[in-house]
Amino acid sequence: MVDCLLDEMGKQEPYLNHIEVLQGTLDMLILRTLQWGPQHGHGIGQTLRHRSEETLQIEHGSLYPALHRLEKQGWLASEWKQSEANRRAKYYKLTAAGKRQLAREQSKWDAIVRTVARIMRPSEGR
């Protein structure tokens, strides 16, 4: 969908230095971001970009389905508050269940990284 939209606008540029968010990891990243305190959707998107040093390219639009999904799971809670832009925005924060979930995701991720790294190592020596 993204391809086509850019294609249509004639501004296609290759994402050479960008990494597409791995399927399923977005939830984890959002939970992680909210560990530092409540934040609204725009803020979450910016935090993700900054902390990945601009390599992580996330369409902001794709954040909202994830946020609403996490809220429905009971891992996030939300409230409307005044934002820095002098405008009301919807702030999300971790719930207790969300914190437990983050811990689970974290250990799962560590395991994946270790495993993948182990497999990838021999190829370096070729």
Partner: protein, 884 residues
């Protein structure tokens, strides 16, 4: 307003949330030095598709599908309103297909599927005696005799109850004009076997079903209401039937009139609607002719197989006791349901198949329409894709549109079906069993809804798949003209070929039935219907106790009618053509050994002098009956040609002798041979038939002579004669009603109702199929011409003749039509073989029908291509090329 009409709070909140996001982004970008406009665009690009994001987010809420469906529906309704002509054409096509199918299904449902109105009807069996295969005459089933029924009743262990019944007519007097009622004489086990209960009073008991006690009566609901004003105090009162007083003991509930004539052996001539029931009262050891139907309720746990096994044992017992009955002792048990449905099942299945084909054609036609339209809407879809609509969502959108279209078609279809059912009930053949029970019941409605849904899926599948195959962006890059894709022309052509093939199958079936029908009309019936009026006389046994009295009355009636002004000739017979079934008997011929040859079985009817002349049955040899052929004169008979050919092949039948089996009854001399007369259907094969003068009835109890049908040939319009005939008959016997007054042509017409109706129905389906297929063909070719306008322009610019363009387009149509006809012919050959039992006088592979129908279909298809071909021929190359 409740959701889904109100915009929910959650929806508003999502809007706000995203608006806030945008506002913050824009603010940051402006602070970083971008102009407000660039900031706005940048924010949007950063965000991606707002619509898609909202759409997916809604999906997270859990009821997204419902909302999506609501949206799809709204959009579908909008697009249906936009394409009015398309919507109207598709809806009407579907409505016709669904309506016709629902109507036929409702008839099949009412007749074949709905349970019978008797409790535990699966335990009710109908029993018939079986004739040996050698004596095949029509069917192998024949009625029970009193003796064999009584014997079996004593013997039977698999039945809780058994009831024997026979039709009879009853002359009701003492309440205004005498009226002839059609009723049933039934033994006491009859009602318990069916499991019915009376609405009022009780049934007669086994004690009342004995000679001397039998003057009790159970009234039918209609008789009770119409003749006795629904009087509840009628129980215990006496009414006069055939000169005897009968005590009313019960009244049946509305709707009960078992047995119906069309559901039983035709030879028994049961009334269409029985109005009353009286005891059969069999005398102990009484023999007599075979004229009983038998119905029985099987014991719990026993089935038809056990009943049949018991009948087989009984056959053995019977033969031991009556050694001469060898070969004629077997019987058959069959479920009541299959007895009632009888021969209706196969015609119904044929109609269901035919209407199914129509529905298929309608479906594929609408699929073609939707496909064409969806190709035209390609730009719209791609725009929506570009704006973030998922592919799955687009397919769902298309399917929703198809289903909505189908629903509209289905709704209109139900209306059409209801009208069609009313029409069939009013004008359909009266001989179809249970037809009046047919209606739009829940089962039919469920069928219609399912059908609608399946139809929507079926014709919606093609365009939906088309979307999946189409590559996004095609139309923006190359323009809509080449965006047809590679899949769809093939699919559209296949749909069109299929329609032509199916239409051919239907048209061939209709053609064969039409040939059958006109073959029946052209057949040599052996009688002429013009200016002949018929009616039936039924003599009550109280006043006319024996054949001598009966003959006396008939003689008086004939003498009176002969001198009536306006009457050319008159005669009587047991049953005029199409007026009833003849009796039948085994016969003996002197000099032939019954042990070596199968005993011949022939129809046996009384007739009067003047009968053959009146109905114009050709006398091939010999003389007609005369008034002098009385009991004092030598016994004579007239045989038909079939009997003469069967019994005395290559010999002169006149002068030969023939008699019934009873040796004490003298042989009759054949005095004439007449042409074969079609007795109960123009389709029947001629059966051997002998006529005996009513003045020489020497057998006391068989065949009964208490009913005779009178035929009068008038000099003017026969319908004008009814009143003077009534007056004349009143002078003969004032208590004698004239029953079943009808012209011979009416009787003939009535016998043709069913085949005519089947033919017209199939012809209507055929015409519908033909129209739909030619519209489909027109659509395909016309669309192809539009698509190829540029190509045609190029060809012309390069020097192609207009004529060659014309023939190119026509050739494309001809190829499709030819393929459709070829496939259709193969299908029609198979289909025609399956319907061979409905045909008469025409072979299932009749070359004329196949040729004519192929030609017709081919020409109609080409005609459908003619208009687009002419349009192609007129393409102006300059315009076509500039168009690009």
């Amino acid at each position: 307003m409740p959701w889904p009409f109100r915009r929910p709070a959650r929806e508003q909140e999502l809007d706000d949330e995203i608006a806030a996001h945008m506002a913050i982004e824009v603010k940051q970008r402006v602070e970083a030095g971008e102009s407000p406009e660039t900031a706005e665009i940048g924010a949007r690009r950063e965000f991606g598709s707002v619509a898609l994001s909202m759409e997916v987010t809604r999906g997270m809420w859990g009821y997204g599908w419902l909302q999506a469906a609501h949206q799809d529906l709204r959009y579908a309704a909008k697009s249906m309103r936009k394409g009015r002509a398309f919507t109207a054409a598709a809806t009407l096509t579907l409505a016709l297909g669904i309506g016709a199918t629902t109507a036929v299904f409702s008839v099949a449902n009412g007749i074949l599927l709905r349970p019978l109105p008797y409790p535990q009807a699966d335990r009710v069996a109908v029993l018939w005696r079986l004739a040996p295969p050698a004596a095949a005459f029509g069917g192998d089933e024949f009625p029970w005799g009193r003796l064999d029924f009584s014997m079996f009743q004593e013997h039977a262990k698999t039945f809780d109850s058994l009831g024997a019944f026979q039709p009879d007519t009853f002359n009701l007097t003492g309440r205004g004009d005498p009226v002839l009622l059609e009723g049933i004489r039934a033994s006491a086990g009859f009602f318990p076997s069916l499991g019915v209960t009376p609405a009022l009073g009780r049934f007669y008991t086994a004690e009342e079903d004995r000679p001397g006690h039998e003057h009790v009566i159970v009234l039918g609901d209609r008789l009770w209401r119409e003749r006795f004003g629904g009087d509840r105090t009628i129980l215990g009162r006496s009414i006069d039937l055939n000169g005897f007083g009968y005590t009313v003991v019960g009244v049946m509930p509305p709707g009960f009139s078992f047995p119906h004539g069309e559901e039983m052996l035709a030879t028994l001539e049961f009334p269409r609607e029985a109005e009353l029931w009286v005891p059969l009262s069999i005398k102990p050891g009484e023999a007599g002719p075979s004229e009983l139907g038998v119905v029985g309720r099987m014991r719990g746990g026993a089935g038809i197989a056990q009943a049949q096994a018991e009948l087989d044992v009984f056959a053995h017992t019977f033969e031991l006791r009556f050694p001469t009955s060898k070969g004629w002792s077997r019987s058959r048990a069959k479920p009541l349901a299959s007895q009632i449905v009888g021969d209706t099942r196969r015609p119904l299945l044929m109609l269901l198949g035919a209407v199914g084909l129509v529905l298929l054609i309608a479906c594929s036609n609408v699929a073609g329409l939707v496909l064409t339209r969806s190709l035209g809407r390609r730009r719209e879809f791609e725009l929506r894709t570009a704006l973030g609509a998922g592919q799955g969502r687009l397919m769902r959108q298309l399917l929703t549109e198809s289903l909505l279209l189908a629903a509209a078609g289905g709704a209109l279809g139900i209306v059409i079906a209801a009208a069609a059912i009313d029409f069939v009930k009013k004008f359909g053949p009266v001989t179809v069993p249970r037809l009046q029970e047919v209606g739009l019941d829940p089962m039919v409605l469920a069928f219609c809804v399912t059908l609608t849904f399946l139809t929507g899926l079926l014709f919606g599948a093609a365009p939906a798949l088309g979307v999946r195959r189409g590559k996004v962006g095609d139309s923006f890059r190359g323009g809509a003209r080449i965006a047809g894709g590679h899949l769809s022309p093939a699919l559209r052509n296949a749909l069109s070929v299929g329609q032509v093939a199916l239409a051919l199958v239907l048209a061939v079936a209709a053609g064969l039935l039409a040939r059958t029908f006109y073959g029946m009309l052209a057949t040599d019936s052996g009688f002429k219907v013009d200016r002949v009026l018929t009616f039936e006389l039924s003599l009550p046994s109280a006043h006319y106790p024996d054949p001598a009295h009966e003959a006396q009355l008939y003689r008086k009636a004939l003498d009176k009618l002969r001198i009536l002004p306006g009457i050319e000739s008159t005669g009587m017979v047991h049953a005029v053509p199409m007026g009833g079934e003849p009796d039948a008997t085994m016969i003996r011929i002197p000099g032939r050994d019954p042990k070596k040859e199968a005993r011949p079985y022939v129809n046996y009817m009384f007739a009067s002098p003047g009968y053959f002349a009146t109905v114009r049955t050709p006398l091939l040899r010999g003389r007609e009956f005369a008034d002098t052929d009385t009991l004092d004169a030598p016994p004579v008979t007239i045989v038909n040609r079939a009997m003469a050919d069967a019994l005395w092949p290559g010999e002169e039948a006149v002068g030969k002798q023939v008699g019934v089996l009873t040796p004490t009854i003298p042989l009759r001399t054949v005095i004439a041979v007449v042409a074969n007369v079609k007795q109960s259907s123009l389709k029947e094969k001629p059966l051997p038939q002998m006529y005996v003068p009513y003045t020489q009835s020497e057998i006391k109890n068989w065949p009964p002579m208490h009913t005779m049908q009178v035929a009068v040939r008038t000099t003017a319009d026969p319908a004008q004669m009814t009143a003077s005939l009534r007056d004349a008959m009143r002078a003969v016997d004032p208590d004698l009603p004239l029953a079943r007054v009808a012209t011979l042509s009416t009787l003939l017409d009535r016998s043709l109702t069913q085949p005519r109706f089947a033919m017209l129905l199939l012809a209507a389906f055929g015409v519908l199929a033909l129209t739909l297929a030619s519209i489909g063909m027109y659509g395909v070719i016309s669309y192809s011409v539009t698509q190829r306008t540029r190509e045609i322009g190029v060809r012309m610019a390069l020097g192609a003749e207009r004529a060659s363009v014309f023939s190119m387009v026509l050739g494309e149509g001809a190829r499709l039509a030819g393929l459709g006809v070829a496939i259709g012919l193969a299908g029609a050959f198979a289909g025609a073989r399956a319907m061979s039992s409905f045909l008469y006088g025409v072979r299932p592979s009749d070359p004329l029908t196949f040729g004519a129908v192929s030609l017709l279909l081919g020409s109609v298809a080409l005609l459908a291509c003619y208009l687009p071909a002419r349009r192609a021929m007129r393409v102006d190359p300059v315009v076509a090329l500039r168009h690009e």
